[in-house]
Amino acid sequence: MKTKKLLYILPLAVLVACEPEFDDVEFNGGSADFTRTVAVGNSLTAGFQSGALRRDKQEVSFPAMIAQQLQKVGGGDFKQPLLADGVGVGSTGNAEFGIFIKADCQGTVGPSPGPIASAGQLDQFASSVGAAGPYNNVGVPGAKSFHVVAPGYGNPVNIQAGLGNPYYGRFANPLDFDETMLGAAVRANPTFFTLFIGSNDVLSYATSGGSGVDQTGNTDVLTYGSNDITDPNAFAAVYSQIVTALTANGAKGAVATIPDVTSIPFFTTVPIGTDAVSQAQADQLNSALAYGAYNAGLDQVAADTSNPFTKAFTQQMADARKISFTAGQINTFVVMDPSLTDLTVVNPALVSMRQIRPGELLTLTTPGDSIRCAQWGTAKPIAPQFHLTSDEIKSIGDAVASYNSTIKSIANANGLAFVDANARLKELATTGIVESGVAFSDAFISGGAFSLDGVHPATRGYAIIANDFIDAINSTYGANVPKLDVASYPAFEIVQ
């Protein structure tokens, strides 16, 4: 018996003595000083997820995640304008989205996102936490580049008038309500900053189905509507102004490019065409009672060169907007397109509609049940606010490319760490990203990287962004800041 015990104890004793151990990895901040860090940006910086800003998600905003890692190499406190615990508050006063198990109009049961409460915590906008500032996180949901330098953006009077931003208003400086976001950031006297701004300069145009104006060529931002695309020169001027102010006292920083918003799930989830249509369905849609009449009407207008309102309308233009359905295959949906020549002056039945062209996109907000059960896209055209035309997509892409080249050259000129978030999103959408056995893609919900609004990342997606910033900081400033274990952050849960 005794020898048997020895048989166990002896090797255990030896093993304890020889247990394989690693020295702790040596981490350091390199040439950067993280004593006081400030994050400037929009909803992405604020930690907005699943349609709302919410306290538990603010706590895992990407700048907060970075700050947590920087604290391991001497970084200071990172104070955020946290909401009270609750359901969060979205830009339309909504609560945060969760995943529910629901049946659609055809009775198919599946996971589906929806607000987790009837309304968001609007009361949070009524109480200011500005006196506790300055805050390290100056991320304001909805902010465009020029809002960062816009005086009065957080002034309650402007907010009341619909000209300010209540997310900023709740933590704006109570001693100077007109202080810009940039002013608030500079007031924190940063030794290091992150800047991730510009997405909203194209995003609201995109999510509204291109309802705004591409303001390229017009640098006067005061004339812009809320869904317009910001002029690239205006963007460059503002971006340069922000970086100059943030680096004025020698602070180092990291900046990121703007993701090409048309590759986010908000635009890539809803299919632009039908399932295969039956012969009977195709015949009916093509009949003289339906699109057959529309097509004939187009030919008629094109042939009529005498009408002064429509003589510029060619046969080619008519052919380009004709609608036909082929049985046994996928047919793209019919949409309203206000950019088409208005023919209703000569024939009220010839509304501005056409079929979606390959490469064009529908928004995540396109009512799915209307498509499934109310003939949207087939017998009835889809409304234009759900549709991005190829021209609109090009406007967005051109602006993003221009913003990004500005960001890159300003980063280089100032020796800043540079994160190519746009390239990362492309990688996510093409090859995918794998972290500790978790495969991420840009697919809605199942891809794991984006939150339930299809626009903002999920917690794990934000962790990937935070790691990209840390990588850039490490390589630019000779630092070795520990990275995050992305897979250890939670996935979605079903709301019961």
Binding site: E19, E435, D485, F492
Partner: protein, 404 residues
Amino acid sequence: MKKLLLPILGLAPLFMWAGGFQVNLQGTKQTGMGHLGTSFYLGASSTYFNPAMMGMDSSKVNIEVGASFITSNVTYQNQSTGISEETDNPMGTPFYFYLTYKINEDLTAGLGVYTPFGSSVEWGEDWSGKNLIQDISLRAIYFQPTLSYNVNENLSVGAGLTYVMGAFEINRAVPAPIGNNNSTHLEGDETGIGFNAGIYYQATEKIGVGLTYRSQVDIELEDGDVDFTVDPSLAASFPDGKFAATLPLPATATLGISYQASADLMVAVEANFVQWSEYESLDFDFATNTSRLEDSQNPRNYEDAVIIRVGGQYAVCDILDVRAGFYYDQSPITDEYFNPETPNTDNLGFTAGLSVRPMDNLSIDASILYISGQERESEYQPAGFGGKYKATSVIPGIGLNFNF
């Protein structure tokens, strides 16, 4: 048949410690001197080490039994996050049983039961690599009936069949986008057939040369059980059911040379060539696929590996032999496909052993093996998981040898 044998398999959780999931602990005497035994005779365990030599004993019947007790630890450190984690492996107990029976002067029959492959690694349910592996238990028991024949004074040959019972069990987390406690349990057992053969040549009075070959055995599992524990909303996407998988237990060729330096001292060298390159992928073919549950392909891309061994035995007196040995065991796993499921580093093995003979026909054998796994920094690229790994094992062994 298979089900009946499961409880027996259950007694033998083995811990991987040699290259890949090979477990080289097939004789206490041999283990004491670096696990060499192809070119000299130490008892019925020749059934395993070189079946050509089974008839070299003067007695009619020779029996050996023994077991080893593996205590081992693997430590992992992620160089970019700084996270350090370690395994909590259960003790492994590989065992052996050999019986040889001399039919006549030249012909000997033998039976061996041993466990040359196995693994039992437990990283825990919630470690950072849980999506690759939480724990694995892999067991293979070989049954080997064998004949040896003395061709002439200097040359003998031997060959036999191997009947292998393999069983494995894997737990890992399922990284589904919904739910944070999704996991899968895969389990199955199957048998396989192979063969082994050996030649021994007495080159001079003092020099012996042995060559052996053990064939590859494929454990072709056809009706493994897969169970998923997933969020209820995903239950339809992850149906419990059956799966098929093939696990190759690779072929090994061994060449050994021994030198009787004096009447009391024998030294030997040996090399094992293990054909790990056959282990290309561990694929799970699920009987029921869904949009979320596709067949799982897990590339392994192992490379052939060599183990170099040196060792010696010294007869202190009539009743006591002492032994010592050393080996270098190369990991077959490349730095791109290093999966914590089989965290095998290049290993240095240091061994010592002794045999005591209280009676003429009984030997009590003991051995101790210390394995120092060389630190390596590797990644399993398909899963984007890597870091530094280091391992150690301490393995005492005990055996008995009778003859009559």
